[in-house]
């Protein structure tokens, strides 16, 4: 192959992570470039130049580029998308603004709800009506609707969302008006709810469709520009985009429905967790990524990250459910917690120690950065406890102000009325409890128990905290993969191509028309393969998942169940009851079951997606870097602890805890009683024996 290399680019808020990877021998080189928010493509291209230079390879050798970005999420948060209009069924233009009518905060009289992405003057109505079964009750008045759209275009609207009542059951009117609009207004971008999120519940469907319309012109320009620039820089390979569902797609699908890309970065992170978990032979993994301001948790069962079919974007209050815009798109399920290295520790109003969600951010940062931060943060506590190395912070790139840390922790200890040492470990312990609590709820929501999982730690702070979080959860195995700081990017390199489709199928299980259901699945599979084919994925190796959203008649939320093949009433019933029991421990007596929607996902391996990762190794003789005092709660004191350079340790080496494993971006800490083993892929697996 003339261009065997893969390039991963993950544009985050602060850094753009790049990895160049040779799937033939697994050789990988990582580079971190500062993100250029005014024009993210610029930083990506500069980073590309640098990572190629660092790896000593030429752009002609890059056979594909995989990409994740927070650009579109940021456009929603900052309300910097296109001028967007909305066309609805007559009588329902205000549904987008009336929303769910529910508060996300009960005790705040001054509450603010998220503003709709389309202001009222740009929400227009069409005369048409479908019945719940999709049959036409009032024919579409095309001319009147075109006149409404014409006014919007005159007012500068660039992108139009169309969301008619019951269109999930029959797209006929949405498609008819879209065709007429496309013909008359050729520069207008159009997004149909029956195409983007064909699911019942008009507000959520409209919200998703509008979000797509809002970011679509931006996505079209950005992706075209990036594709062109990569090609100009001499890279012959195609550009692939990471989707929120944990799979890749090609540029034209991303341009059609960019709302699928909102969670691309975090999805890649979960995928990396899944991949390293599989390498380590672990079935169930709790991927735990802890950075500067937040921690993210993702559950991986049977080697695959769990996917949910809805999430919230652009929350008014980042950690408050219900404060964002609902987006009904297949998305790797992530729990975000306000817990990171920069989380600030304070005495709460009730006199207890509170850690986060407020963060010191990049400026001033933790007290130890010496940039004027006066309050103690998690990083300060980690430093005082010996988990972090003051002389090797960010690989020695940052000078640490120990005195500032001591002063901040001292102030906190005085405020709390506890000893200095107690305050330091208290901060570490409380932030761990916050994360463990979120993990417990997330795991319980699926009817599972934490002990079945292994913790896989990434991010700057994840490996520092993982061992103690695991102990709180009763988890006995902790994995720290190589390149833990660039995990997301590595995940993208391993990602398959993936397509998710959903169709409404409202029918009681008893007497359901399985012929119709099979026909829907067949159509979904064909459509998915049509999308998949241009990615160059190996369709012969595809995995097809046939799922159904089902519930007991009368319930309002659904359980997504894997469908047997062929479909039979008894087979589906067994599958549903088993899934229901797994979640809720029992099934209600005597209740009837119904279908709500059918889902199909196809994933297929990408050529060039590697089987292993080999980061540059350090000389074996330098493995033991030295010894330092590190605090462990079991011992109740600082213990002299060996410090290793993880890239100098060879596969198969066994290290007894307590131990510290350092790399530039992070530090993996394991306690007394741990047995840590170097795995062939460079991961460290620590177990309580």
């Amino acid at each position: 192959m003339s261009a065997p290399l893969s390039l991963g680019i993950d544009i985050g808020g602060t850094f753009t992570d790049l990895v160049i990877h040779d799937p033939r021998d697994g050789r990988a080189i990582i580079w971190k470039e500062s993100t250029t928010p005014d024009d993210p493509a610029r930083g990506a291209l500069e980073g590309t130049r640098r990572v190629l230079a660092k790896a000593g390879v030429k752009s002609e050798q890059v056979g594909r580029v995989v990409h994740a970005t927070t650009l579109f999420t940021n456009a929603l948060i900052e309300r910097k998308g296109a001028k967007t209009g909305l066309l609805t069924t007559a009588g329902f233009a205000d549904v987008l603004e009336i929303a769910r009518e529910r508060k996300y905060e009960l005790y705040d009289l001054f509450i603010e709800m998220p503003k709709p992405l389309v202001p009222r003057p740009w929400r227009r109505e069409a005369r048409e009506r479908l019945a719940p079964d999709g049959s036409v009750e009032i024919a579409l008045d095309v001319e009147a609707a075109l006149a409404e759209v014409g006014e919007l275009v005159e007012q500068g609207v660039e992108s139009l969302a169309i969301c008619f009542l019951h269109s999930y059951a029959n797209p006929v009117h949405e498609r008819a008006i879209a065709a007429a609009v496309a013909e008359r207004f050729q520069n207008l971008s159009i997004s149909l709810s029956s195409d983007i999120a064909p699911e019942i519940r008009e507000y959520q469907r409209a919200s998703t469709t509008v979000a797509n319309a809002y970011i679509r012109p931006l996505a079209e320009i950005y992706l075209e520009r990036l594709e062109k620039a990569l090609s100009m820089s001499g890279i012959p390979g195609g550009l692939f985009l990471m989707l929120s569902n944990g799979g890749l797609t090609h540029v034209s699908e991303a341009k059609r429905a960019p709302v699928q890309l909102l969670e691309s970065g975090p999805a890649a992170g979960a995928l990396a967790g899944a991949w390293f978990g599989r390498n380590a032979g672990l079935e169930r993994v709790l991927a735990f990524d802890m950075g500067g301001t937040t921690a993210k948790l993702a559950l991986v069962d049977d080697g695959e990250p769990l996917v949910a079919y809805g999430f919230e974007a652009a929350r008014e209050k980042r950690f408050l459910r219900g404060s964002g815009l609902p987006i009904m798109i297949a998305t790797v399920e992530l729990i975000e917690i306000g817990a990171g290295g920069g989380s600030i520790a304070r005495k709460s109003d009730l006199g207890t120690l509170q850690v986060g969600p407020e963060s010191s951010g990049a400026q001033p940062g933790p007290a130890c950065y010496g940039r004027g931060g006066m309050e103690a943060t998690v990083t300060d506590a980690d430093l005082a406890l010996g988990y972090l190395n003051a002389d090797f912070f960010l690989g020695g790139a940052m000078k640490i102000d120990r005195a500032a840390t001591e002063a901040a922790l001292g102030g906190l200890a005085t405020a709390l009325g506890v000893g200095h040492d107690r305050a330091g470990f208290g901060v570490h312990d409380v932030v761990n409890e916050n994360m463990a609590g979120a993990a417990r709820v997330a795991i319980a929501e699926r009817g599972r128990i934490p002990a079945e999982y292994a913790l896989l730690a990434t991010g700057g702070a994840g490996p520092v905290h993982a061992w103690n979080v695991a102990r709180k959860l009763g988890v006995t195995r902790v994995v720290c993969p190589p390149g833990a700081g660039a995990g997301s990017t590595i995940g993208m390199l391993m990602a398959p191509a993936r397509v998710d489709r959903v169709a409404s199928f409202s029918a009681p299980l008893a007497g359901a028309d399985f012929g119709q259901a099979e026909a829907i699945f067949a159509a979904q599979e064909k459509e998915s393969l049509d999308v998949l084919r241009p990615t160059g994925a190996d369709a012969s190796g595809r995995v097809v998942r046939r799922l159904a959203d089902m519930r007991y008649i009368g319930q309002g939320s659904e359980v997504t169940v894997a469908m047997p093949s062929p479909l039979t009433e008894a087979g589906v019933r067994t599958a549903f009851e088993a899934a229901y029991k797994a979640l809720f421990a029992r099934t209600p007596p005597g209740a009837a079951i119904q279908f709500v929607a059918l889902r199909l996902s196809v994933s297929a391996p990408m050529p060039g997606a590697g089987g292993k990762i080999e980061l540059p190794r350090h000389p074996r003789a330098q493995a033991l870097k030295g010894t330092r005092a590190v605090f462990f709660a079991d011992a109740g004191k600082m213990l002299p602890t060996n410090v290793y350079d993880r890239y100098a340790l060879e596969a198969g080496v066994i290290v007894q805890g307590p131990a510290v494993f350092e790399e530039d971006e992070s530090t993996f800490v394991v306690g007394p009683g741990a047995t840590a083993r170097l795995l062939p892929d460079g991961s460290i697996l620590a177990e309580v024996v």
Binding site: E97, K103, L106, P121, H166, G351, T352, V418, A444, G554
Partner: protein, 545 residues
């Protein structure tokens, strides 16, 4: 020797308690049949100490249950003293005076033992899909018409389910599978709280919860007392009128006294109870009054017994906020949702910056029931309740939010779902222009919903609808919001009665707008212009006039 907890240990234990009730709440949301539980979180989970004093409550609990649920546990203890409780018991009641003020809310509680000693209760209240009786409306004259009453009893005794009770419940409700299914969902939550609590106590070697409860409740009590102490001492009065029944308004009166670090509330002078189901049992009145005080004094304080200890409340027996048996109370929110506003009327005199203008609440709703014709002279009965909300009042910082549930937190039902489960067709659901009271900060807008029956069989409908006579008032110079409106076939209609819809009949509900805050002339021109451009306001002169 009492155990003491330092600032760190206490935070760790507290976090664990919060996570265990939230875990139970998550399990309930996913297993429940009731739309109100699943989509509106019309339920709560709580852990109390052995005496029924609450320690921790699920984060998303609605305000009413935060006040009522621990009280119900204390009532259980009166009926079943500790020596009559054993492991594996589950207690049940929906008594409106001991519970939440109306029958659909069923409370279950489970005593938790450690080392053979009663150390705690896990408890839940949830709104059942149906409880039998007349469909929910203000019409019933006595509680007997409102459905099945379950006195405090053991649904499960030492692990053995009372099948007689189950059979009686099943026979008396329209949706036996769903109502029972929800009770089992509540039991899952009770078991989960018990399990997690015992693990936590094992981890931290706590023999019982006495010391921890004292610490947690004590800190919240101290914080609440400190917040009250900041308020000037004095006695403050407020009064407001509700639409009432049969065009006879009902007057609510409150005297609120602040003395040192305590607040006493007295509803003397409030009108008498009525023979319609809008009576608001004292448990619900108390919960709503506490909520009103809390949002103005210490909105971020965790909910437990301690937060409410410095606040006392009294209401003369027989008045509409303390009705006596057998007064009906199915629609008690039609009085109860006014109570926080009454509290604001008092506290607004001393901390005007912390209150808002009146909201377009109580919440609105339309209840329908009927029988789906099976073509054989029979059919399957059904009942649905759809909710809609008015606008919130303006406040010192910003405009009131448009169409938002307050003080409750019940979301509106999706139109597409509504049309799937009921033989109805919706013609519109739109904002009501000019319904927000004008002011420096405008009231939130109400909405208008037009619904048509498509049913071949008659549909009985009744409503929750208030502020059709007395609008949500403005404060600090702001104007009133638009009153609510109910029309059947275009004719203005008394919302407190039950009606029958035949095919083609229409119902129009117009929820009230919120009151404005501050002088409308002070509204900056760009904000007014934006309102006019959006059509929230159509008449500039009327807005400022």
């Amino acid at each position: 020797m009492a155990h003491t907890f330092d600032a760190i240990e206490l935070e760790l234990l507290w976090r664990r308690l919060i996570s265990l009730v939230d875990e139970a709440a998550a399990a309930m949301v996913r297993t429940s049949f009731s739309t109100l539980v699943r989509e509106s979180y019309d339920f709560s989970c709580v852990v109390t100490d052995a005496s029924g004093q609450s320690l921790v409550q699920a984060s998303e609990s609605i305000p009413s249950f935060i006040g009522t649920l621990p009280e119900t546990v204390k009532h259980f203890l009166r009926f079943f003293p500790p020596d009559q409780l054993q492991p594996g018991d589950v207690l049940i009641t929906n008594d409106i005076w001991l519970g939440t003020g109306h029958l659909p809310d069923i409370t279950l509680a489970k005593p938790i033992f450690r080392g053979g000693k009663l150390i705690a209760f896990s408890a839940t209240t949830a709104h059942a899909p149906d409880i039998g009786g007349k469909i929910r409306s203000p019409e019933p004259r006595e509680v007997f018409e409102e459905g099945l009453q379950i006195p405090p009893m053991k649904m499960i005794a030492a692990g053995k389910t009372d099948e007689t009770l189950v059979a009686i419940i099943r026979k008396n409700v329209r949706t036996p599978d769903q109502t029972m299914g929800d009770l089992y969902a509540q039991i899952v939550a009770l078991d989960l709280m018990e399990d997690r609590l015992l693990i936590l106590m094992e981890n931290y070697a706590l023999p019982d919860l006495t010391d921890l409860a004292r610490e947690i409740q004590g800190r919240c009590e101290t914080a609440m007392r400190a917040a009250i102490r900041e308020l000037p001492d004095g006695t403050y009065h407020s009064e407001l009128k509700t639409d009432g029944i049969m065009e006879t308004p009902i007057t609510l009166r409150l005297k609120l006294t602040i003395k040192g670090d305590e607040i006493a509330m007295d509803f003397a002078g409030t009108d008498a109870q009525v023979d319609r189901a809008i009576n608001c049992a004292l448990c619900y009145t108390t919960a709503m009054a506490m909520y009103g005080v809390k949002v103005c004094t210490s909105p971020n304080l965790p909910n437990n017994e301690g937060s409410f200890r410095p606040i006392s409340l009294s209401a003369p027996p027989g008045c509409i906020v303390n009705p006596q048996f057998p007064a009906p109370g199915g629609s008690r929110m039609l009085i109860g949702h006014y109570v926080p506003m009454l509290v604001f009327g008092c506290l607004g005199q001393i901390v005007p910056e912390r209150v808002m203008a009146a909201c377009g609440s109580p919440m609105w709703g339309m209840n329908q029931s009927g029988v789906r014709d099976d073509g054989k002279g029979g059919g399957k009965p059904y009942a649905n309740m759809f909710f809609y909300n008015g606008g919130m009042g303006g406040n010192t910082q910003r405009d009131g939010v448009t169409c938002l549930s307050w003080p409750s937190n019940v979301s509106s039902t999706s139109i597409e779902i509504s049309e799937h489960i009921a033989p109805l067709r919706f013609h519109h659901k739109k904002l009501r222009p000019d319904s927000g009271g004008s002011g420096r900060h405008r009231g939130g807008l109400g909405q208008e919903i037009l619904i048509e029956s498509r049913s071949d069989t008659p549909i009985a409908v009744s409503f929750l609808a208030e502020r059709t006579i007395f609008p949500a008032f403005g404060i600090e110079g702001g104007n009133d919001g638009a009153p609510g409106e109910l029309h059947i076939n275009g004719r203005k209609t008394d919302p407190k009665k039950q009606y029958v819809l035949n095919k083609g009949d229409t119902v129009s509900l117009g929820t009230p707008g919120g009151g404005g805050h501050g002088d409308p002339k002070m509204r900056p021109e760009p904000e007014l212009a934006a309102d006019i451009a959006a059509g929230y306001v159509t008449d500039r002169a009327a807005y400022c006039g």
